[in-house]
Symmetry: C2
Subunit: 338 residues, 2 copies
């Protein structure tokens, strides 16, 4: 089966290639139009911000969010002009959050390229992020249906609230599992959920089907984020394509660490928290404990359970290559470390 | 005449009192409902951000933007529930820009109170500003009409673009008059224009009337900003209610300085630019030149001309206390230094 085959390839989701089995390839023509909408939306600022907008192209990732929205639209039987606009909106909001995240993290590089803040300073980065947010909202209004604005506004509220919760909990080594989930549901899952919801809504799906597919996006987003956090603590840098161990260095509690601290008893937990407070965190000792206590494996299982939930949410869709691809993505979401 | 009387009072626009002739007093009941919408919109974040949102109340100014929107609605004959929501939206966007402005300016105080960034750091300020932007956009969608989202999105794009132009021109002592107007039309006039447009639109005004009243807001905003810039260079701190001379200290070229540099000939202009580059800008020498060359007076006349244009735009409105107040505001906008 084509999708099974694709699932066994290493990290196919993360690369743009000509492979016909890649999710992006199934909606390649749509994605070209999304790119054109993105360019057109920012065209009024080219004269003034040309080099900045050119550099912003380096932030361009795998277009996961628009791809999902478009796959859902096709899987529901109808892809419209509204879908293209909304796919651009979702991607633009995602980019705005990346630009502001880099300011928050004082990051110098993203995808091996200098960040906007490193090149142009925080002032310009803050204003560029604002401009991307407002341009996305304005773009969403151009389809002439306030429901889209409502869904996007609500999701973006949740993204910002999630980011705020994360920011307020920096250095909190007592972060609870509930707090962790509140953060990732906000910062990661809510925009994917929104994209899938809009994909189904504008394809004319029934209300309960729309809710199920929104749930697909949410659960997929949660699975993705947990898998990302597991990968950061144990994976090899080759498959992840980025510097790992940053969560430990930043003393950021993610699910595997929360599990570890829950399991080892109060005395050991105190010792691990002390290790995390050290100027140079003893990464290897903590990684070993994560493996030995099963904390890492349990976090991975949790991601798998969310991915499985996401897959189940697709069961009412009629058979199609797009549905197959949406299923395959749930596998890749949690198997990127293979 | 009531409005003439009010115009002769010092800075009545800037204070909240029980005086029945104040603009806010005419729409006091509406404004209470706007406050309640603002509280309700941010209520979901109270548990987590309580002290921060409490502190944000200190950013609360004279509610000029919602007041204008509501006065226009009444002057057009009909104030609806949509107006209350949109008044809250406009105020929330204004607040978001203030929160981010304070980060950009590295400001420690606003209205004699510590800024959010001074108290909570830049990270929290950036995210709070983002949350206010997205909450405003979400709120605008709740009236169920994409036209409102479109107008607000377009205006906020212009606010951000104006701020960006200003930011990119920091320290540019060759700023042109056109660039100055591009900045103030964006950062100040566009949100006032949008509020007046929405006030008229949702009161059911005719398209040409809506455009005239949008023009009222735009011209009033330009007049306000020029008057503010004049005041910063020449006024007394008592009437302005804030620290003056900051534009000189920040080497920010505003209209009076642009006029001065245009008029004195290239050799003198170079000398003034050198003075502005000095570590301690010789404020008194520059102020004297601004007065002697008539640059200050000409900038003031320019503000008056915009205010007069704004007043003219009201001519088709039927007589009402609200219309009288909108007229009176055009006087106050440029006479705050009296």
């Amino acid at each position: 089966m084509e999708t099974e085959d694709a699932m066994n390839k290493p990290a196919p989701m993360l690369n743009r290639t000509r492979d016909q089995r890649l999710p992006q390839a199934l909606v390649a023509h749509d994605l070209q139009q999304v790119e054109s909408i993105l360019s057109k939306t920012l065209a009024p600022y080219q004269a003034q911000l040309g080099p900045l907008l050119q550099h912003l192209q380096n932030y361009r990732g795998k277009r996961l969010r628009p791809t999902l929205l478009l796959l859902i639209a096709h899987a529901c039987g109808r892809q419209t002009k509204a879908h293209l606009t909304l796919a651009a909106v979702i991607e633009m909001i995602h980019t705005a959050t990346l630009v502001h995240d880099d300011v928050l993290d004082e990051a110098d590089t993203r995808r091996h390229i200098r960040t906007i803040n490193a090149g142009w300073g925080n002032q310009t980065s803050i204003l560029l992020g604002d401009l991307l947010f407002t341009s996305a909202f304005h773009l969403s209004s151009t389809i002439g249906d306030a429901r889209a604005c409502e869904a996007i506004g609500a999701a973006t509220n949740r993204v910002c609230a999630g980011e705020m919760t994360q920011s307020l909990n920096r250095g909190n080594l007592h972060l609870s599992e509930d707090e962790y989930f509140a953060i990732i549901e906000g910062k990661t899952a809510s925009l994917l959920e929104c994209g899938c919801r809009l994909g189904a809504l504008y394809a004319g799906a029934e209300p309960d089907q729309i809710e199920r597919l929104a749930g697909y996006g949410r659960d997929l987003g949660i699975a993705f984020q947990i898998a990302d956090d597991v990968l950061d603590l144990e994976g090899s840098e080759r498959t992840a394509g980025k510097t790992l161990g940053t969560d430990l260095a930043q003393r950021k509690l993610t699910l595997p660490l929360i599990y570890l601290l829950e399991r080892v008893g109060p005395v050991e937990a105190k010792r691990f928290r002390d290790l995390l407070e050290q100027e140079r965190v003893p990464t290897e000792e903590i990684r070993e404990a994560l493996r030995e206590t099963g904390a890492l494996e349990d976090a991975r299982s949790r991601a798998l359970a969310y991915a499985e939930n996401a897959r189940t949410a697709l069961s009412d869709l009629p058979p199609s290559p797009h549905r197959d691809m949406l299923e395959a993505i749930t596998g890749w979401a949690v198997r990127r470390e293979e």
